[in-house]
Symmetry: C2
Subunit: 252 residues, 2 copies
Amino acid sequence: MYTKAMLTKSHAKYIQSLSQKKFRDEEDAFIAEGPKIINELLQSKNTGLKQLYALQSWADENKPFLNSISDKFIEITEKDLERISFLQSPNQVLGVFKKPLFEKNDCVGKISLLLDCIQDPGNLGTIVRTADWFGIENIICSTDSADVFNPKVVQATMGSISRVQVIYEDLKKFIQKNQAIPVYATAPEGNSLFEMKKIKEGFVLIGNESKGIQTDLFLLAHQKITIPKKGYAESLNAAVAAGIMMAWTRGF
Amino acid sequence: MYTKAMLTKSHAKYIQSLSQKKFRDEEDAFIAEGPKIINELLQSKNTGLKQLYALQSWADENKPFLNSISDKFIEITEKDLERISFLQSPNQVLGVFKKPLFEKNDCVGKISLLLDCIQDPGNLGTIVRTADWFGIENIICSTDSADVFNPKVVQATMGSISRVQVIYEDLKKFIQKNQAIPVYATAPEGNSLFEMKKIKEGFVLIGNESKGIQTDLFLLAHQKITIPKKGYAESLNAAVAAGIMMAWTRGF
């Protein structure tokens, strides 16, 4: 049996500190919430549990499992969960996890994503989740992109954060270092996606929500591709555009 | 010249009331914010301006135009904008608009979307925006879906709310009433989207974020389609799945 502990001020303060990138980096840790994501992370070999805080109802349903992590588990009240949760509607359980570690993994012979300054946490998380659906293992973000361990990003990945490797690099240098791999950039003047064959290897480059792809990166693209517009919207949401591009690489 | 007016308590109360569906319906009105969306709505023939509140900086940039709507315009301070805005970062201008009116419009010979209980405002708004990109004119939502005039949905449409007709219906009855139009539903056991030809007419049925498509609706589908998974994510985000389905109907 696990022992019932109390949520102390120092626990609450520690969790709160993990809303900031600086402390997440220092602690090599991030927060996730809700039974679904927590479950996925607990099963992952790439990450590790540091602390788990949950309501009695969740603990009751997960008793056999809790014995194995009893030293890391604290049962808390709804009021305490509200205090530490980053969600508008706190959802039973909050965990602090080690940032995932991935085996060394290059981009040769694969589809990878390059994200140039994706700023919206929901978009970034959704892109990670979609990449995981399509079996894309690597996402390389520009250093000015949102942090993938931001709690809002983590929630939007729905657990995929433990399976897709997300790294931060100077994209220009990264492309130059991997110059044998073709770069496909979305651009209004590009070739129609609907007329292109699927690809087996490449960097798919997705731009910022409002500014698109930086000029100096754009100039490095081997092929420009457009998702043909038939209506009037000025642009597509970045996560939707990325999703359509990923679908294309996988089979259209 | 427009006259500078003050934001009164009754204005603020009226705007606040429009966060609730009940009042939006009673007033046949909705709120939009930010220069980009406001601009699109002001240019639209389908909607009409009721009131516009903006900072002096916005007013200065739009002076010639403001003369034509001077009786509806109120210049406000940043503090007042913070008071009435629904955004985390208020963005210069907030408008109250009449709900758009569309010409009578049926679904014959077209692609339309059926949304079964899409709950997340961001997802619904993004789906409307994507539909507008792909020239899809009609979206039919189940009556338990999020309201398209919810301020969060309006913001996520990025102005497309004035160009895509969104109606609320009992989807089962709606499909039965339009039985000559084939229904395509997303389902794990369906045919691979990558092996299907594009379509010219049909209802594309998208399900709820966690529960998917209701059984009784699902049984009415003529064709089941899956977006093939190559990785491990349990599901796709609803707006991404809808975007990939729309891209398919348009050309893949």
